[in-house]
Symmetry: none
Subunit: 202 residues, 4 copies
């Protein structure tokens, strides 16, 4: 007989009090809310603990550093935002996505994302971790779409997909970080057309 119980999904049941999902959620939610409302400087571990009614020890138990927590808080809340469209031809998909992304940038999503990136930069010197844990996947998907568009002819630009992607999303990010106007869905759509040079009917 096995000395440890197996749960239905095959994971081994651990001894001891199980980790509280409610606590974890409260921490992530508080971190996100504080970033969105009070800004990065006020989003201290102490403030998160106070806001979520969780002890600091519990936070430090599960996250090694503030940037790790902030990334998780962002991922937890923002992952479902800005999905890549699945209908329409590749150029149109990207155009819609860039517009939606721009709209998100102008709201809470943008504020929090930039705070997380800033935290990573000030702690580690770059935002590579953020790229690996969040951006990379999304970029890969858009890259595939660009490749498809180049294949089916809906995208006229012949540059490397990564270069095209960065020209679009790098522009949006650049304008957002430095407050360069305009930065609107219409600007984003126009930018996509400029960079990808889609066929007239795309």
């Amino acid at each position: 007989m096995a000395s440890k119980a197996e749960t239905e999904d095959g994971t081994t049941a651990r001894r001891g009090r199980p980790r509280s999902a409610a606590t974890t959620a409260a921490i992530l939610q508080s971190a996100y809310t504080l970033m969105a409302t009070t800004g990065l400087a006020a989003t201290t571990i102490d403030a998160i603990a106070r806001h979520s009614n969780v002890s600091k020890m519990t936070i430090y138990k599960w996250w090694p550093s503030r940037e790790a927590l902030l990334i998780d808080a962002f991922l937890d809340q923002a992952s479902r935002a800005v999905p890549l469209p699945v209908t329409g031809n590749p150029a149109a998909q990207i155009r819609r996505h860039a517009a939606t992304y721009t709209e998100a940038l102008l709201g809470e999503f943008g504020r929090v994302q930039l705070a997380v990136i800033s935290e990573c930069v000030s702690k580690t010197g770059s935002a590579e971790i953020f790229y690996e844990r969040y951006l990379n996947l999304r970029r890969s998907r858009v890259l595939e779409t660009i490749v498809n568009g180049q294949k089916d002819g809906s995208i006229g630009a012949s540059g490397a997909p990564g270069d095209l992607y960065d020209a679009i999303y790098g522009s949006l990010f650049y304008r957002y970080v430095f407050g360069i106007k305009p930065l609107t869905p219409a600007y984003a759509r126009n930018l996509v057309n400029l960079v990808l040079r889609p066929n007239a009917d795309a």
Copy 2:
């Protein structure tokens, strides 16, 4: 900061009150050095005061906040870096500038610039101040060059100059922040060609 002369017998002879310019320079130099070597997190006002042998009071007297000081420290050291070329046709000028800028990004200049931007973002939520005090001027000059290129035909791309600029420099910045490879002078030159579509002889 060389505010003290050494006499033969080793005692320190005061030559009178150090010039405030010397003190200012020492503060800016220390801030820059600390950002470049120990990173943003360790570049505290206390550390700058210690490193420059200046009292904290003097620093607070002249700068209202850390980001203001860091911007000045960056401007003081980095203004002379990455000058816009004045020879060659417009497309070639930008190509050379983008390559030079990329090279600078990969060194001390990039590290410090990103630290300053990060500080602005974490304090104010964006890097607008940095844009106004540094980027804006440089961007304007390049924009003029792009306009010239579009007029004389050396630049084939017809988009708004600002859009073209952001596509190039936004891409470079984006790759730098997120550590996306490759990021080299060759990549920059290629990117300029992709975005500006210069005539074959440019």
Copy 3:
């Protein structure tokens, strides 16, 4: 028929898993060892649990507070130490006991006893509990001996037995707590003679 089993010694056997004697012993032993070796400040409940491989829950189940546990740990180990001699005349008995007690004070016994007393004082403001659970009984026995000595004339001092006892053992404790030298068996024997003024042949 009895609904509950009776063990040999008349105690009622409880349902469920019986309390583990080994665990109890391990806790008390660890508490004593830690007090003797690492000092009171390091003898935390957590440290005792770690050292004895017992969970904190088990400790808190059986002892309501740290001072209660430390007293028990002391009693468990130290009760058998420093027995009152039963041979010789009363004055000689006390003289030998004071000397033995002094010797014990200078070793592990003294260190642990003082730690326990200190813990009681810092938690409750005095060491009355320690007196009630440990000192009182021993003092009573010595008091009887003093009374006997005063009756049979071997003790010349006419003061109240309690006053004589405290003059002797209070002196020893006082010197121990404040590190006043000398504090040796010889000093103790001399002190007993000074306070009790035994007849020459005692």
Copy 4:
């Protein structure tokens, strides 16, 4: 000409903002008050800082540890208490002093003194520091008085002065720590007579 200003009392004036006497006093007063009212366990550095409206940094700047602060707090408030009488013959002086000391023991003084001693014991294993910084001087003075009494014949006991002192004050301390009754000025006077055996007219 001196390069540093000399204050009236001959101490060298230091550069920079001078230490605030009010702050120091507030810290010591708060520490004393908290010990007397809430007990040792509640007299944390945090609590002292809160109660005195002083930052923890300032406390840690001037005292290396809690026991050091508590000793100073006790000395600051209690030094003037329980002065040795200067009139009357030696035996009578000590009798009065022991009675006064006992009275003090039963009030705030006793509570705080015991707390300080307990803190020293739990941190360092003994109260030697307290002896060196407080008790020693007082004991020496009483010892001189005992010597005088033995010389002029007012004290009949021939033991070493230190032994006699400890028999008296050790008894009082012992009774206080362990809550042994009675502990009153009358008891103290009687104890002095028992130990010192003064001549009838003393």
